[in-house]
Symmetry: C2
Subunit: 564 residues, 2 copies
C-alpha cells in the first residue's frame, strides 16, 4: 500500500495543498485557495499605508478547502485512497502573528474586537512598527549584544516583538485582552490537532529562532529583565508565550477527531510542528551542506545549513543564524532581498509602454525576449534593487531604488534588464558576505515563481555569481517541504522517513541547470564593482564621501508631505 | 507708410520666416518649412551614430519657400505690400558648419563629393569630434589658457575647430578641397546678398566668438602658432577664414538683384550679418541687463548680457563670454543644459504606459495634469538631468541620467515630475555659478516650446529658483530677434531702429508671469541640497568619495559592447 503526505503551504495571498506519493515523489494532486478578505487577502488602512493585516478565518477556510479539494482530485485519478495519508506538514509566512485568547480564539472573532485591524493577523509585510524595532535594536545593542549577533546586527520592524510592542503602544485594549500572541505557522497545526489551550501549542524554532530571538543558548525567549527594559508589559507577556520551541520535524500531534471527520482522513494522521514557508521551501528544493537555496519570487530568501558542531561567527547583515531551524543538527542561516519580482512587476505595471504589449504577461514576455538579445553591459545602465529597502546585508528599510546611466535612447527592455541585473548583484553581495565569513558553498538551487518562469533572470544570476544555478524539480517546493516535514514527523514505521535527507533523496531533484558563461561573467565582474561602489556609497554611512543620507532625506520629506 | 522687417530663423529640423510690423510689433505673417532630406533634415550614418549632417540645399530651398509664403500670407491679409519690407535678419543654429569652395559652392554640390557626408553641413549636434576637442582643450590648457577662459574651461566637441580637425583626420580629401569652412548662419546672409567670394563674407561675432575662439583681445581667431600645434594644415587654413568678425546688427549688404527679383522684394532691403539662433531668441525675448533669458526647448540656452566696461572674470563651466556677441557694447554670456525637453520626450515615448493615453500629446497632457496635483517632495524621487551629458557647468558629455528614491509604488507622473525638477535644479546650478562670479540678475524671461506649453514646468522653475519667471510675449522669439537685428542694421532713416533696446521697447513684451510660491521654494531648497550632493559626487572627480567614474565606466563598457 502506498503512503502519502499532505503538505500545506500558506502564502501571503493564497494557500495550497500538495499530496505527495512518498514512494517516489510523484505530486499526485494540488489545490489552491485565494484568501477572500480585503485586497488579495490583505486588509489595509487609509490612515496608515504601512499597515497590512489579514483575517484568521481566511486561513482556516483555506485549510479546509485545499485539503478537501486535493483529496478529491487525487481520489478522482484512481490509485489513491485518503486512508493512505500518513502525515500533514504545515508551513506559513513568518512574522505573521495574531493576538489570541487563552482558549486560542483569535481576538478579532470576539464581538468587541470585530473589524479591529489590530486584533487580526499582523501580516509579515506590515511595516508600521519601525520605531519599535529601533527601540529594541538600541536596547539590545546596549544590554544584550548577543541577541543581535543572531539577527545580523539589527531587530527588524517586521518581527515578533516589534509588532507586539506596536500593538501595545497603539491599541492597549487589544494587547490587554490578548492572553498570548501566536505565529500563524504555529496556530494552524494547533487547529488541526485540536489544541485549545495556547500554552500547549508547540511553537516552531523555525519562526521563534529567526523572528522572536528564541535561542537555547540563553534559555529560550529574551529574558524578562531585558523585556522589562523595553516595556514592563512585555515581561509579563513572556510567561504567557512559551518556554521551549520545537523542530519542524517533530510531531505536533495527531489530527483531531473533529478535523479527521470533516476532512475524511484517518485519525492517526501525524501533523508536524509548523515551519516558516521559506524553510519548508528550502527543504523541498533539496537544501544540504554546500548548497545555497534561493527562493526567488516577489522577494528572495537565501538559505544555507551549516553543521551544528562547527563554529558560526556573527554574520553582520545576515538576518538569522539559528540551530535546528531548517534541518535538525544544522544551523539554519537565512538572508534575503526585500524585493525582486516586485521590482520587475512594478516596472512592468508603471513604466512599460504599450509597444511591449497590452497585458502584464505580454509585457513581461516581450521585455524578456528583447532584453535577452542584449549583451551584459550593453545597456549602459546600472540599478540598485532597493525599491522596498534592503534586507541583507544593510538591513535598512529607509532606502529607495536607483537607476543610473540613462541616455536619450534608453529603452524599457534595457531598464528591465538592468533591474534584473541589480537583483543579481544584490544576491552577489549576500554571497560575498557569507564567503567573507567562511560560509562557502558549491552550488545554488533556485525555486519560486521567477526561477521557474524567467530563464533570462536565471542565466544572469549564473553569470553574475559565476556559479551554476539549478532549478528545483518541484514547482511547489514549499508545499513539498511541508509534506516532507510531515513525513519525517510521522517516522519510518508509519511509512514516512527517518530524516530530511532520506526524504529529499526520494522526493526532491533538479529540473535543469544554468551554467555561467565566462565572457558574461567577466563583464559582470566589472559592473559588480560599480554596483558595489553605489551600494556602499548610498547604503553605508561609514563610507568616505557617503551619500547614505540622500535616500533617507527623500523618504523623510516624502512622508512629511504626504501627512499634510 | 508702414515698415516691416523679415526675420529668418533656421532651426535643426525646420526654418521659419516672420514678418514684423515695426510700428508696434504685430507679427503679420509666418511660414515654416521642414527640411526634406534625411530624417527630419538630419542625415546619419549607421557606421557612426555620433554623426549628424545636413544638406545645404535644404536651407536655401527653405529660405525661398518661407519668404515667399510669408509674403503671400501677409499680402493676402491686406494692408501689406512687399515693398514695405526694409530689412531681413537671419539666425541659425551655430556650430553647424560646412566646407565650401572659394566661390562659395558647398563641397557636397561638386560631383566628386556628392553623397559624401563629410562634404555636407556638420550639424551642431554631430558628436563625432570628441577626441579632437580633447586635443584642442589639452593644448590650450598648456599653451593658451586665455582661450579657455572664454569658453568655461574646455573646448567642446560640437564647436568649429573640433569639427574641422575631425574632417581633416577622417577625410583629408574633403579638407584639401575645401577652400574654407563656414557657419550656416554666415552662409545664408551671404547667399541673400550675392557674395560669391568666401573671403568677403561678413562672419558674425555671435558664432565666431562663442564657437571659434574669436576675440579681439588676441586679434581675432586663434593665432597661427597655436593652430600649428594642433595641426599644420589648420594654420594654413586660418588665412582662408577671416580676420575680422562683425556684430549681428551690422549690415551684411543689400539683397542681391537675383534674390530681390526671385522673392518679389525691393533691392534696397538691408540684410544684417547672421546671428546664433539663441542670441536672436534672447533679443526677441527682451534680453537686457539684469535679465536672464532662458530658451527652454529640447535643450536650454541661458543668456545674459553684462556691460562691456565692467570686468568679467573667468566663469568656469559657463561656455561663452564674448564682447558684442548678443548686444553691442555688452558681453554676451551663454550657458546651457544639454537636454530638457528631450528628456521629457524620451520619458513619454519610452517609459510611459498606456494608462496615461495613447498619443504622445495625450501622455504629456495627462502626466502634466497628474504631476500638477503633487506637492514638491511628495514623490520621494530625485533625478539628475544628464541623459545627454552636461553642458553647464560640468562641460562633460560622458555622463548619464540618474533617478533615485523609487519605491514599489512610484508612478510614471511622479517620475515625470522628478525629471522636470531635475532640469530646474540643473538651471539653478547655472544661476548659482553666475552669482558666485558676481553676475546677478533680478528677473528671468523664458521662451521656447516648453516655456509656452508647460505651465507646470514654469511654476517649478519659479519655485526652484525663487525668482519670478516671465514668459516672453512672442512665440517666435528667434525669428523676432532676427527681424530686430535686420531692422537695426537698416537703421532709423530707413524705418528701422537706432539700436536693439529701442527695437525691443516697441516689439517685445511679456505674455504672463510665474511667481515663486514660498512654501514650495522652502522644500525645493532642501531638495536642491540633495541634488547638489549627487551632482558633485557624480560630476566632479575632485569631490571626496567621488563617484564620478561610475557613469564614465558604464558608457565605456556600453560602447565596447556595441562595437562587438
Amino acid at each position: 500500500m502506498k503512503k502519502y503526505s499532505l503538505g500545506l503551504d500558506f502564502g501571503t495571498n493564497s494557500c495550497r495543498a500538495l499530496i505527495v506519493d512518498l514512494s517516489g515523489g510523484n505530486e499526485v494532486a494540488s489545490s489552491v485557495f485565494k484568501y477572500p478578505s480585503g485586497n488579495d487577502g490583505v486588509l489595509t488602512s487609509t490612515m496608515d499605508p504601512l499597515i497590512a493585516r489579514q483575517m484568521p478565518q481566511d486561513y482556516v477556510d483555506g485549510l479546509e478547502h485545499v485539503i478537501k479539494q486535493s483529496l478529491e482530485i487525487a481520489s478522482g485519478k484512481g490509485g489513491f485512497n485518503p486512508s493512505e495519508v500518513v502525515s500533514i506538514g504545515v508551513d506559513a509566512t513568518s512574522s505573521s502573528i495574531m493576538p489570541v485568547s487563552e482558549a486560542m480564539t483569535p481576538l478579532c472573532l470576539l464581538p468587541e474586537f470585530k473589524n479591529n485591524l489590530n486584533a487580526m493577523v499582523w501580516l509579515w509585510k506590515d511595516h508600521s512598527s519601525t520605531e519599535e524595532s529601533e527601540k529594541i535594536t538600541a536596547l539590545a545593542k546596549e544590554y544584550r549584544p548577543e541577541y543581535l549577533q543572531k539577527t545580523g546586527g539589527a531587530y527588524s520592524a517586521e518581527w515578533f516583538w516589534s509588532k507586539i510592542l506596536h500593538c501595545l503602544n497603539v491599541d492597549p485594549e487589544v494587547f490587554r485582552h490578548a492572553f498570548s500572541f501566536i505565529e500563524i505557522a504555529d496556530y494552524l497545526p494547533a487547529v488541526l490537532t485540536g489544541v485549545n489551550d495556547v500554552r500547549k501549542v508547540k511553537r516552531c524554532i523555525s519562526a521563534a529562532g529567526h523572528k522572536a530571538i528564541y535561542n537555547r543558548q540563553w534559555g529560550g525567549l529574551p529574558d524578562e529583565k531585558f523585556l522589562d527594559l523595553i516595556h514592563p508589559d512585555l515581561a509579563l507577556l513572556r510567561q504567557r508565550l512559551y518556554e521551549k520551541a520545537y523542530m519542524s520535524v517533530e510531531p505536533a500531534g495527531f489530527l483531531s477527531e473533529h478535523w479527521a471527520l470533516r476532512l475524511g482522513l484517518p485519525k492517526d494522521v501525524v501533523v508536524s510542528v509548523g515551519s516558516v514557508d521559506a524553510h519548508a521551501g528550502a527543504i523541498g528544493a533539496g537544501i544540504e551542506p554546500g548548497r545555497l537555496v534561493k527562493i526567488i519570487g516577489t522577494s528572495t530568501c537565501d538559505m544555507m545549513i551549516w553543521p551544528g558542531d562547527k563554529e558560526v561567527n556573527y554574520l553582520p547583515g545576515i538576518s538569522g543564524v539559528v540551530p535546528d531551524s531548517i534541518v535538525p543538527g544544522y544551523y539554519g542561516i537565512e538572508a534575503g532581498q526585500a524585493a525582486v519580482g516586485d521590482i520587475l512587476l512594478w516596472f512592468v505595471k508603471e513604466l512599460t509602454p504599450l509597444s511591449y504589449g497590452k497585458s502584464i504577461q505580454d509585457k513581461f514576455n516581450n521585455l524578456t525576449a528583447e532584453a535577452s538579445q542584449l549583451q551584459p553591459g550593453e545597456t549602459g545602465l546600472l540599478a540598485l534593487d532597493w525599491n522596498n529597502g534592503n534586507r541583507s546585508v544593510l538591513m535598512d528599510p529607509m532606502l529607495g531604488g536607483l537607476l543610473i546611466g540613462q541616455s536619450l535612447y534608453s529603452r524599457a527592455h534595457e531598464v528591465y534588464r538592468a533591474l534584473i541585473e541589480a537583483t543579481a548583484f544584490g544576491a552577489q553581495i549576500i554571497i560575498n558576505r557569507l564567503k567573507e565569513n567562511g560560509l562557502e558553498f558549491q552550488e545554488i538551487i533556485a525555486c519560486g515563481g521567477l526561477a521557474i518562469n524567467n530563464p533570462l533572470l536565471m542565466q544572469i544570476y549564473a553569470d553574475v555569481t559565476g556559479k551554476t544555478i539549478h532549478l528545483a524539480k518541484s514547482e511547489q517546493t514549499g508545499a513539498l517541504g511541508a509534506a516532507i516535514l510531515g513525513a519525517v514527523a510521522a517516522g519510518k514505521e508509519r511509512g514516512g522517513f527517518r530524516d530530511i535527507s532520506e526524504a529529499q533523496k526520494k522526493l526532491t531533484g533538479i529540473e535543469r541547470s544554468y551554467a555561467p558563461i565566462a565572457d558574461n561573467s567577466l563583464t559582470y565582474n566589472q559592473l559588480y564593482l560599480l554596483y558595489r561602489q553605489l551600494h556602499d556609497s548610498f547604503g553605508d554611512a561609514k563610507w568616505q564621501g557617503s551619500l547614505s543620507e540622500v535616500m533617507k532625506a527623500l523618504i523623510r520629506i516624502r512622508e512629511d508631505k504626504r501627512k499634510n
